[in-house]
């Protein structure tokens, strides 16, 4: 704390002399004796401050005092005008760690206070730091050197947009001079360039508290001005070094060379500013950590003559080859090659006669040909020399090679690569590499090989997709009669690919089964293989389908073998029985592989039969179609493992295998079950699985298996949830749905489910009912539909009545079986509600609404059993969320609103006196009921008013019936607000729900706010303030939207139609102050710029007088007149923008709409953009000096 006062005294003394540097101080201070003593005072204070700073540095190294030391450091950095002291400490301290900390402080302070100091002083500081490093390069430890140069780079970037051309040239002249000097000078020069590349890059720049726009503009200017020049200098350095031979034995020289290559790598991976990266659309988002090949190495046309050159490619391959022994350097050269492999953008274009950019295919082809020639050599050399011995360090090179290969194939179209003579030899080597990696995924080398194998599989799958697309294009061209645009020999490529693809598939399957032996002993991982290895499985399926006959035959043979062995094991063969875990694991994997090979995922639209499988099936004999046989074989496996529960084999069975087989059936069903001739399926497929032919039989078989496994695994949640997924797949197919509803097996299955629900894990109750209800309510035939649905609803109703009508219900309601029974019945109703959609709302609503009163009664009875409460609330929440309000009659709506009101009243009564004890790790559950109520109210509001204009909302609200929905909502809000505590708002989900409820309330019922008791209103506003500062941007955005809506209500006299808004003013004033403070003094999430800016606008408009008072107060608080003047000027500009924007023609109308929507402009509203720009300029201008407080 003493440091701060010391620093302040030093700063205060200097207020008379605003110069930054001590040097300039010393020139002027000689004149008067008074000033001399003044200076002595400053120096004395400096010494004391330095001592305290050094002490803080020491404290930071000790765990016990670290916190205190850090605090001093942070205070130091936020002291105004601290730069002269920083410089003093940097210069005079004897300690490197102190120098490091102080230069880090300079970095932050110089960027923040940049605008406060004359340019010459900032330049002086920058140059002084640079020369300090130059002069003492060898004496400074690397961490001090680096942070000092990084500070220089930050200062350069901060002033970039304000610097004149000659200023920049002078500075670059100095760097050039360094690069031509002795070795330490060259090292300093290249390190500085490297830090500047970081500062101007899209993802490595330091935070300087300035808007996105500043970064983008600086980056663009740097790209247009210096980047290419730096690239040329670095290339010259590398070329020169390669010519004279790198001085490997001379560490400084070698270090300089390595740094040069590293800097070059940064340029090759540069993320150029795109046209869309402007402040308006780009906002504050940063593309951090996105290293997609599309983003980097996208070079503009102006780079063509510098980078699309054979000698550049040769240089990097040569460099990589010569330097492969040097890990650090070869890491950089490898990355350079990866970037070159992915080179793209308008650099491959040329301007035609009209000046329009056109793609230059010849240029690309030439580039790829040259690249592949060298790459092929590298690949061949790697394959012939690598032993894949884990100790040989082959890993990075392997991963690098796969990345390069992937970039080339992703980046250049087949029409380019296919025409290059080296392409097939290259693919051939790549095939060898894939097979080698696949084999090595089992064994000691697995780490890198697994990663590379994954990438390579993906690469092959990508190539095959490219070929498929190309063939489609060609076919389309032929149908239009146009000449096919063949630029390469597709037939040869296909022949080649077919053999490689099967080889890759075959090796993958073998390695997978090999790995399976290991994984049965592994710890059980909760992640399912089907998700964990999804990418692999998808890629392998695509590869396998290139030669489907052989791939299917391979799986078929393996499955048949494992099935036979499992059969023997079941029959008591001891030898096979000892192999059971491996057999089960193999069956699990073979089912996964078969599922992927035979069918695509049904997510999204209905998947088609894969093209090559259709071809295979068409060319097979009707009774020997491999596509049919493979599925049938897996069905046989399913039958084999679906044993009787009391049989001795049951102990040998695996729930995971049943689950995977059910998954297979689900995936397979969506493509093959009930297919018909319209889908151009082959006769054999139609015969085996068609609706009119074998399909019915298969469906019956599946249902039987489902039922058996349901009994067998009724304690295994995962298996049961997979059954639910299968039912869901059934429910999406009309034909299958209809067939199910006439099937006796299905009928039996449903009764079985319903009768035994209480014995099943709770997680499956609701989804099971939901899917059954969906199937039942979507029957094509009205009779079947009503018959089935009434069957289902009667069964549920019977359960409910069984409970309610029990003569001794009030005596037994607390018994566990009663509670369980009530909960599962509520889950059934909840599941039923989930199945509601526009086509079945009427039926479902009728079924559920019949017992609204009973549910509410149960809520009352079970007031002490939170679990039961939750399920009852869920029935209502689900119903309101899923049902379609348009389908309900006014009477239905009345019934619903009355019930919800009663529900809320009962809930409120239950809540009286209830305490919630927070227990660690179970916090979320504690508030499940509150969550439910919040959701219910939010949904109810959204269902009524979302998307409506204010006038329509008023009309809707005026059509009062006996129970007005607005009253219901308001009643609910009254119940729920007092329950919300600050503690609850710490939970992200709950906070999100609550803020969005408040937001809706403010948008749809601002006129009713005055009727809220004042403590409720202030609690509501407090939660908005809390929301504004919430770390989750979604919550904060929603809070600002609510503030905007509230402020605009305060502004819009039409909406308030004469009512006094006096009560609202204190709240709006508070919100205005908070918003202003956040903008000016606090760190804030730049993603909120838009919504917070709108809130400020609305508040300023609504509370103009208070806004003026606040801003005048701010100005008067400034201790220094020039700050006050700057702030006042900046505010003047901002205020003009607010006034002008508000007076734009049509603005009032737009703001009225915005009040109901919660947001004013959105990025596309041109009328509002002027304000937004001014606000950004304002913040850029004033945040720097306001935040030093």
């Amino acid at each position: 704390m003493r440091l701060l006062s010391l620093v302040k005294r030093a700063g205060l003394t200097k207020a008379h002399q605003p110069e930054l540097l001590q040097e300039s101080l010393s020139h002027k201070a000689d004149s008067a004796a008074g000033e001399r003593s003044q200076r002595a005072l400053v120096e004395m204070d400096y010494q004391a401050a330095q001592a305290r700073f050094e002490q803080a540095c020491t404290e930071m190294t000790q765990p016990a005092t670290r916190e205190a030391g850090t605090k001093v450091m942070l205070e130091f950095r936020s002291t105004p005008n601290v730069l002269p002291l920083c410089k003093h400490i940097f210069e005079t301290t004897q300690r490197d760690d102190v120098r490091f900390h102080v230069v880090t402080a300079i970095k932050e302070v110089a960027a923040r206070e940049y605008a406060l100091h004359p340019k010459v002083e900032i330049h002086g500081l920058r140059d002084w730091l640079l020369e300090y490093v130059v002069g003492k390069y060898d004496l400074l430890p690397p961490y001090v050197r680096n942070s000092t140069l990084s500070t220089v780079a930050v200062i350069v970037k901060r002033g970039w947009l304000e610097e004149s051309r000659p200023d920049k040239e002078t500075f670059f002249g100095r760097i050039l001079a360094l690069l031509n000097g002795e070795i330490t000078h060259r090292q300093t020069g290249v390190a500085l360039l490297s830090y500047m590349l970081d500062e101007f890059s899209s993802d490595r720049s330091s935070a300087v508290g300035l808007p996105y726009d500043f970064h983008i503009k600086s980056r663009r200017s740097f790209e247009e001005g210096e980047l290419r020049h730096i690239f040329q200098i670095l290339v010259q350095i590398i070329q020169h070094t390669l010519q004279v031979g790198p001085q490997i034995d001379n560490p400084p020289e070698f270090d300089f060379f390595t740094m040069s290559v590293a800097a070059t790598e940064k340029i090759l991976g540069w993320d150029f500013v795109k046209p869309c990266d402007n402040a308006l659309q780009g906002r504050f988002e940063r593309r951090q950590h996105v290293r997609d090949y599309l983003i980097t190495a996208n070079f503009p046309l102006s780079w063509r003559e510098f980078i699309v050159r054979p000698d550049i490619i040769d240089m990097f391959f040569q460099l990589h080859h010569t330097m492969q022994e040097h890990d650090r350097l070869s890491d950089h050269t490898r990355q350079c090659l990866i970037h070159l492999a992915g080179l793209h953008g308008s650099v491959f274009c040329s301007a035609n006669a009209n000046g329009v950019l056109v793609e230059d295919q010849n240029g690309q082809r030439g580039y790829v040909a040259h690249f592949l020639k060298s790459f092929l050599k590298l690949l061949t050399r790697f394959l012939s020399t690598t032993t894949f011995d884990p100790d040989s360090g082959y890993g990075p090179e392997l991963v690098g090679i796969t990345s390069m290969a992937k970039r080339v194939l992703q980046n250049f179209p087949l029409t380019i690569t296919g025409a290059v003579p080296e392409f097939l030899p290259f693919l051939n080597e790549l095939g060898k590499l894939t097979v080698t990696c696949s084999r090595n995924t089992v064994g000691d080398s697995e780490e890198y090989c697994t990663e590379a194998a994954d990438e390579l599989l993906d690469l092959w799958a990508g190539l095959i997709r490219q070929i498929e697309d190309y063939m489609h294009e060609q076919a389309a061209l032929r149908t239009t009669g146009a000449a096919p645009g063949l630029t390469f020999d597709l037939a040869t490529l296909m022949t080649f690919l077919t053999s490689v693809a099967y080889h890759v598939f075959d090796t993958y399957v073998d390695s997978r089964l090999e790995l399976a032996k290991l994984s049965v002993e592994d710890e059980v991982d909760n992640m399912k293989d089907e998700y964990l290895y999804e990418d692999q499985l998808l890629a392998v399926a695509i590869i396998g389908r290139v030669e489907p006959g052989k791939s299917i035959a391979k799986l078929q043979q393996l499955i048949a073998d494992r099935m036979a062995r499992l059969h023997e094991a079941f029959a008591g063969n001891q030898e096979q029985a000892s192999q059971i875990p491996i057999l089960l694991e193999h069956i699990h994997w073979l089912s996964l592989l078969s599922g992927h090979l035979l069918a695509d995922s049904g997510r999204g639209e209905k998947p088609e039969i894969p093209r090559t499988l259709k071809g295979l099936s068409l060319h097979s004999r009707v009774d020997a179609d491999p596509v049919v046989t493979l599925a049938m074989t897996l069905f046989k496996v399913f039958k084999l493992v679906s044993v009787e529960p009391d049989s001795p084999q049951f102990a040998l069975c695996s729930p995971l295998v049943s689950e995977t087989l059910l998954w297979f059936v689900e995936r397979w069903t969506e493509t093959y079950l009930f297919l018909d001739c319209r889908e151009a399926a082959s006769p054999s497929l139609v015969r085996a699985f068609g609706r009119q032919e074998g399909g019915q039989h298969v469906l019956d078989f599946i249902l039987t298996m489902v039922q058996k496994n349901f009994v067998l695994w009724h304690g295994e949640t995962d298996v049961l949830l997979q059954v639910v997924n299968l039912l869901n797949a059934f429910s999406r197919n009309t034909e299958v749905r209809n067939a199910l509803l006439v099937s006796e097996t299905f009928q039996g299955m449903i009764s079985f489910f319903l009768d035994n629900l209480s014995r099943l894990p709770a997680d499956v109750h609701s989804p099971l009912i939901e899917n059954i209800a969906t199937i039942a309510t979507h029957a094509t035939s009205a009779d079947v539909r009503s018959h089935y649905f009434s069957g289902l609803s009667n069964a549920i109703e019977k359960r409910l009545l069984g409970i309610l009508n029990h003569p001794q219900f009030l005596q037994i309601y607390q018994l566990p079986e009663s509670i369980e029974s009530v909960m599962s019945t509520m889950e059934m109703y909840g599941g039923l509600a989930l199945a509601a959609d526009e086509s079945n709302t009427k039926e479902i609503f009728a079924t559920i609404s019949k017992y609204f009163d009973a549910f509410i009664k149960l809520l009352e009875v079970y007031r002490n059993v939170t679990e039961v409460e939750k399920y009852i609330l869920l029935v209502f929440a689900n119903l309101i969320r899923c049902q379609s309000f348009e389908e309900l009659t006014p009477a239905d709506c009345q019934k619903l609103y009355t019930a919800v009101l009663e529900l809320l009243k009962t809930y409120a009564k239950n809540e009286v006196g209830k305490t919630r004890v927070l227990q660690a790790e179970r916090e979320e559950e504690l508030y499940e009921d509150v969550s439910c109520i919040l959701e219910l109210l939010a949904q109810l509001m959204a269902s009524q008013y979302e998307g409506l204009a204010w006038s329509d909302i008023l009309v809707k609200r005026k059509n009062k019936a006996t129970v007005d929905v607005a009253d219901v909502i308001f009643y609910g809000v009254n119940v729920v607000i007092p329950l919300i505590t600050d503690q609850m708002l710490q939970f992200p989900e709950l906070c999100k729900d609550y803020i969005s409820l408040v937001s809706n309330l403010v948008r749809y019922f601002p006129d009713k706010l005055s009727s809220l008791p004042s403590e409720l209103l202030s609690s509501l506003v407090r939660s908005l303030e809390f929301g504004m500062h919430n770390a989750i941007s979604e919550v904060a955005r929603s809070a600002f939207e609510a503030v905007t809506a509230l402020a605009l209500f305060g502004w819009d006299e039409q909406a308030s139609s004469g009512m006094s808004l006096e009560f609202l003013h204190p709240y709006l004033d508070g919100l205005l102050q908070q918003t202003l403070e956040m903008f000016l003094f606090r760190d804030f999430d730049s993603g909120l710029m838009e919504s917070a800016g709108e809130a400020l606008f609305a508040l300023a408009l609504s509370r103009g007088d208070h806004y003026n008072t606040l801003t005048q107060h701010l100005i008067s608080q400034q201790s220094q007149p020039h700050f006050a003047r700057r702030l006042s000027d900046a505010l003047q500009t901002l205020n003009t923008a607010i006034a002008e924007t508000a007076q734009t023609p049509g603005a009032a109308e737009r703001l009225r709409i915005a009040r109901v929507e919660g947001f004013i402009g959105g990025p596309s509203a041109a009328w509002f953009s002027r304000y937004r720009e001014r606000l950004e300029a304002f913040l850029m201008d004033v945040r720097g000096f306001l935040r030093v407080k």
């Binding site: 102990a651 949640t717 566990p816 227990q919 559950e925």
Partner: protein
């Protein structure tokens, strides 16, 4: 693997005034009740584990003794039955506190004097508030032949 599993017929288990009720382990719910080592407990955590990738699920239960607050754990195959205690919660107006016992009033007006004043902070607070003249409602929880006052609240005004 799961050689000891038994699959009884699916049927409605008979109820009665027994102290416990059997339920399949996998169908237990978090926050529900279960008997572990002879004690009535509330389940605070439920997770499944397997012996090996293809093993049958076992349910791991962590529960708190509803009377003593002690943490108990159990692991059981998911298809086995476990006992669920009959837990009843009854609210009584508090009439008096006498010699460490609560005097509570039944709905019919008769008194119930066999429930002890809870030990520790809860009891002290209850006593203090009662002596302040507040009307208190005490919740008595009974399970497996044991009975305790576990919470109380102030009676709603105007009753």
């Amino acid at each position: 693997m799961a050689d000891e599993e038994h699959h009884e017929e699916f049927e409605q288990a008979g109820s009665g005034a027994s102290l416990t009720y059997p339920m399949q382990c996998s169908a237990l719910r978090k926050n529900g009740h279960v008997v572990i080592k002879g004690r009535p407990c509330k389940i605070v955590d439920m997770s499944t584990s397997k012996t090996g990738k293809h093993g049958h699920a076992k349910v791991h239960l962590v529960a708190i003794d509803i009377f003593t607050g002690k943490k108990l754990e159990d692991i059981s195959p998911s298809t086995h039955n476990m006992d669920v205690p009959n837990v009843s919660r009854t609210e009584f107006p508090l009439l008096d506190i006498d010699d460490g016992f609560l005097s509570l009033m039944h709905a019919d007006g008769s008194t119930k004097d066999d429930v002890k004043l809870p030990e520790g902070e809860l009891g002290e607070k209850m006593q203090a508030e009662f002596q302040d003249g507040k009307e208190l409602i005490v919740t008595v929880v009974a399970a497996m032949g044991e009975e305790q006052a576990l919470s109380y609240k102030e009676a709603p005004k105007g009753n």
